[in-house]
């Protein structure tokens, strides 16, 4: 239609513009092969902006009128189709990704466990071609990795019938990124595709692919939802986009091979160029069946709940939307194909996981006490750069989400310092968080029962080595941070933190949740070398 929005339009013009675009959108859903479109509306020279917009609207409506009057069905059918989909009960699609001919696509009802098959006929992929599925309110797609093609069908009616639309080749999005491993519907033009790196385990790139044009538009939404060798993921088995602007993935982590369900914000972060991880739920409690040909979980929504379908036996699980995100088996062993997959349309993905609210407890001020998990915790020694703070607030991690600083936290600032806590009754596990760390900061943690075992969750530019926490050389202007869990096999009563803090103050506090995320990661290690006088180092050794 060629209409574009102008700066300085009146509110009325803007509203009309929206109406025109909506009508234009409906028009695009019509078959493109029919050539009945001849404008029956005239345009006058010298019209106002509003008049021109009304003209475009009328043209678009005229096309709709012609289409339904001359070739297809009454206009009321169009209205009914849209309404039916939005209000209908089923939003979940399913397919057997390696079935031999004839291929089917099915609507799936978790309520009745029924599959309603739709034969796709000659326009489908050849039999046995493994595929990934995706859909929106108006379209269904199948992607074949072996053929590198996406096929598109229009969703016509309910119970659904499909009309074949187009087949589009999918190319590489860059060196080593040749094969997507999961797709989902983003809107009626784009599918979201995650490409894994063929050589670097744990590195993914996520892009939007325009099915009509075949353009992989990395720049529209360059969300890197998983990256970093070692602490990234080997496989993204399933992905969905929600109407609440979240991306939910099922991934297998590199290094640990643990399957996790993760939620990411769908807000492009200018500082990172990536989605922000918000929720991570371990699937260790529902292990895959090792005999399955296609070891995966598929995530989908239905009736405002989030479900996981497990391959091999098609067991269905419901995942709680709020912390601790309890996973419940709802339909055991449907006994379907080992390779059956599920997905839901974005318009139906109306729910997402509740992000755990920030939660923290301040360390006791110098010489003071606090209550922590039924214990009295007292600061029994402090020396050097230890300070009380009367501040609070959130801290945005450079590589992860938000950390919440409680009121009255302790700051380590200056070198060297020692800060000792005594617990009224012994404890095995505590969680602490630190923020605003710089290159050169280091922290050594000891207890009265020996050196503890440290692990890090969402560390940004910091590294755990033994019982020490170091900042990486990339940390500057307070960009280092992380949550750290301290564990001793024998409960400890005295915890001592000593070290050095350069630059900005380093706040430290208790996290209030010790039932920690089940997966811990650490960032890559760097040395603590000062930033000058670089040499190549050579070593040799002797025997004993």
């Amino acid at each position: 239609m060629g209409i574009s929005k102008q700066i300085g339009w009146s509110q009325e013009s803007n509203l009309i513009y929206q109406i025109v675009k909506q009508t234009e959108y409906i028009n695009k859903l019509l078959p493109t092969s029919q050539s009945y479109y001849t404008t029956r509306v005239s345009k006058m020279i010298g019209w106002s902006t509003e008049a021109n917009l009304y003209y475009e609207w009328l043209r678009s409506l005229d096309r709709l009128t012609q289409h339904y009057a001359n070739c297809c069905a009454p206009i009321t059918t169009t209205t009914t189709t849209t309404t039916e989909f939005v209000s209908r009960e089923w939003c979940v699609w399913s397919g057997d990704s390696t079935a031999t001919p004839p291929n089917y696509l099915s609507e799936y009802s978790p309520l009745t466990n029924q599959l309603t098959d739709l034969r796709l006929g000659v326009n489908d992929f050849p039999g046995g071609t493994e595929f990934f599925g995706a859909s929106t309110e108006f379209k269904v797609w199948k992607y074949s990795a072996s053929l590198s093609e996406i096929k598109e069908w229009y969703v016509n009616s309910y119970p659904a019938s499909l009309t074949y639309s187009v087949t589009t080749p999918v190319g590489s999005i860059g060196p080593n990124y040749t094969t997507p491993d999961a797709i989902c519907g983003y809107d009626n033009d784009y599918v979201l595709m995650s490409f894994y790196n063929n050589f670097l385990g744990g590195v993914f790139r996520t892009v939007l692919f325009n099915v009509a044009t075949g353009v992989t538009n990395v720049n529209i939404l360059p969300i890197s939802i998983s990256s970093g060798m070692g602490y990234g993921s080997l496989t993204i088995a399933s992905v969905m986009v929600t109407s609440t602007n979240k991306i939910i993935t099922v991934e297998q982590r590199a290094g640990t091979y643990e399957w996790v369900l993760r939620q990411w914000s769908l807000i492009q972060d200018p500082g990172m160029g990536s989605g922000i991880p918000e929720v991570q739920i371990s699937l260790s409690g529902i292990p895959l069946n090792p005999l399955a040909v296609n070891n995966k979980y598929y995530v989908f929504t239905y009736n405002n709940e989030i479900y996981l379908g497990r391959t091999y036996d098609s067991t269905l699980f419901k995942v709680g939307l709020s912390y601790p995100y309890t996973i419940t088996e709802v339909i055991p062993n449907l006994g379907w194909s080992q390779t059956r997959q599920y997905w839901s349309s974005r318009e139906c993905n109306t729910v997402s996981f509740e992000v755990v609210p920030p939660c923290a407890t301040a360390f006791p001020e110098i010489g003071g006490s606090i209550s922590y998990y039924g214990r009295t915790v007292t600061n029994t020694f402090a020396s050097g750069g230890v300070y009380n703070s009367l501040d609070s607030g959130s801290y945005r991690q450079t590589c992860a989400g938000q950390l919440f600083k409680p009121f009255g936290y302790i700051i380590f600032n200056g070198a060297p310092f020692t800060y000792e806590l005594t617990f009224s009754s012994p404890i095995n596990d505590i969680g602490i968080a630190m923020a605003i760390l710089d290159y050169g900061d280091d922290f050594t943690i000891t207890t009265d029962v020996g050196d503890p075992i440290l692990s890090a969750v969402n560390p940004c530019q910091v590294t755990v080595v033994g019982n020490q926490i170091f900042t990486d050389s990339t940390a500057s202007a307070g960009s280092g941070s992380g949550t750290f869990y301290i564990h001793t096999p024998t409960p400890f009563s005295v915890l001592t933190i000593s070290g050095t803090n350069y630059g900005l103050g380093g706040p430290i506090w208790f996290t209030c949740d010790t039932s920690l995320p089940t997966t811990t990661t650490t960032s890559s290690t760097t040395t603590m070398a000062p930033p000058s006088g670089f040499n190549t180092i050579y070593t040799t050794f002797d025997i004993y």
């Binding site: 692990s455 890090a456 650490t522 890559s524 760097t526 050794f541 025997i543």
Partner: protein
């Protein structure tokens, strides 16, 4: 014949550096209509085969190649054409019950066990085998660079204003098992990385290999030369260069035992050599940035469905975590180490090809020899000393006061020779 092999190897190196749009070049049996023939060929590995009509003249590979007067046919091999087949599901299973022993905390040590290190704590690989450091006659563990070393590039390839890393300070401790993802308790320590073969960003690389010290209490000279999951109990010598060059002709049964896919090889899970002298490109982290590295003269191995025919291949001859495992061949009842597994060839989300460094390159580049099971020395980690040279260097070693020092990264320390 040996000279001919060297000529073929040199020709493959030449072709790999001058042929665009290929994934690899190697030497193996030619395939016709999907069936393996008995004719050896130079094999171009491409992402997707195209009809001649769609190729520009520059993209058409020659049908034959002259190698020092001898004509060798070529073959074009499509990586992405494999299908997932109903192969033995327990053979190559990812972290399944078959490989549980590989991931378990195990003393005394054996080849095939999972390991990690302080500097690579969030990843895990495999202890390939225990060998002898020739100069000191000390026992050492052998695995890949990328299993233990955070950045194995020559310091001359590094940016002096970038991340400054080395494997000396803090000490890069090696742990077994390597499964936790965090620094484990002290009883998991089995040694410390002492040498690696630096990688070159622009040059030719032959091995991805590192060695680490061992403690005598973790080694049993009667069993530690064995490999997890195999009943074969004898020490494993290294295959000679001649035995490796003739692998396509002798076509021995192969064995490997990695952290993730466990023991493979033998009648229930056969593995064979697919091609020799293979070239491939892999990415390694150079100061945190994924960087291409060019590898030459590699072994390519596969899991055939209908052994010994290679016409139909099974997935997962190797998987993430198997890096560093030994590739072993059975020469008429005597098993020998022929390679160090370090990479997989991907196709549609699966690996169908495993890549291994030749053991003759590993031995010469690291300065090691096979362990015959006799008593040997042990490296004293407290004896490790260092010397420095100004800025980056492309020298793998430094000779100083009668001792040979090995490059282990960048530092701000200063101790010139």
């Amino acid at each position: 014949m040996e000279n001919n092999f060297e000529d073929i190897k040199l020709k493959i190196m030449e072709l790999s550096e001058t042929t665009p749009n290929i994934n690899s070049i190697s030497y193996g049996f030619k395939f016709v209509n999907g069936q393996q023939t008995n004719e050896l060929s130079i094999m171009y590995g491409v992402e997707k085969k195209k009809p001649l009509s769609e190729l520009t003249p520059d993209e058409v590979f020659p049908s034959t190649i002259d190698v020092n007067g001898k004509t060798i046919k070529t073959d074009v091999h499509e990586v992405g054409s494999m299908q997932l087949l109903a192969c033995n599901p327990y053979c190559g299973q990812i972290a399944g019950p078959n490989s549980a022993a590989n991931r378990a905390y195990t003393r005394p040590l054996k080849g095939g066990l999972s390991i990690t290190s302080t500097n690579t704590i969030s990843t895990v690989g495999t202890l390939g085998f225990i060998a002898v450091h020739t100069e000191t006659q000390a026992l050492v563990g052998v695995t890949n660079n990328h299993v233990l070393i955070q950045d194995s590039f020559y310091t001359s390839d590094r940016d002096l204003s970038g991340i400054i890393q080395n494997e000396y300070n803090p000490p890069n401790i090696v742990y077994q098992d390597g499964e936790s993802g965090v620094i484990p308790p002290s009883n998991f320590r089995v040694g410390q990385s002492v040498r690696y073969v630096p990688l070159s960003r622009n040059g030719r690389n032959f091995v991805d290999a590192a060695m680490f010290s061992l403690e005598s209490e973790d080694v049993d000279i009667n069993t530690s030369y064995q490999t997890v999951g195999f009943s074969y109990t004898q020490p494993l010598p290294f295959a000679t260069s001649s035995e490796i060059n003739n692998l396509l002709i002798t076509n021995p049964m192969l064995y490997a035992s990695g952290r993730t896919t466990g023991p493979k090889g033998g009648a229930g899970c056969p593995m064979r050599i697919f091609s020799l002298f293979s070239t491939t490109v892999l990415t390694y982290k150079l100061q945190g940035v994924p960087t291409y590295c060019y590898f030459l003269d590699q072994l390519t191995f596969v899991k055939p469905e209908n052994d010994p025919s290679l016409s139909i291949l099974c997935a997962k001859p190797v998987w993430f975590g198997d890096s560093g495992s030994a590739l072993i061949a059975d020469f008429n009842g005597v098993r020998k180490i022929i390679g160090l597994v370090f990479a997989g060839g991907p196709a549609g989300g699966e690996f169908y090809y495993g890549y291994a460094n030749r053991i003759d390159h590993v031995a010469s580049d690291l300065g090691i020899e096979a362990w015959d099971g006799t008593a040997k020395n042990y490296i004293d980690p407290g004896s490790i000393i260092y010397k420095t040279t100004i800025n980056g260097s492309s020298n793998k070693t430094l000779s100083c006061e009668g001792k040979i020092y090995w490059q282990v990264g960048l530092t701000t320390l200063s101790s010139p020779c």
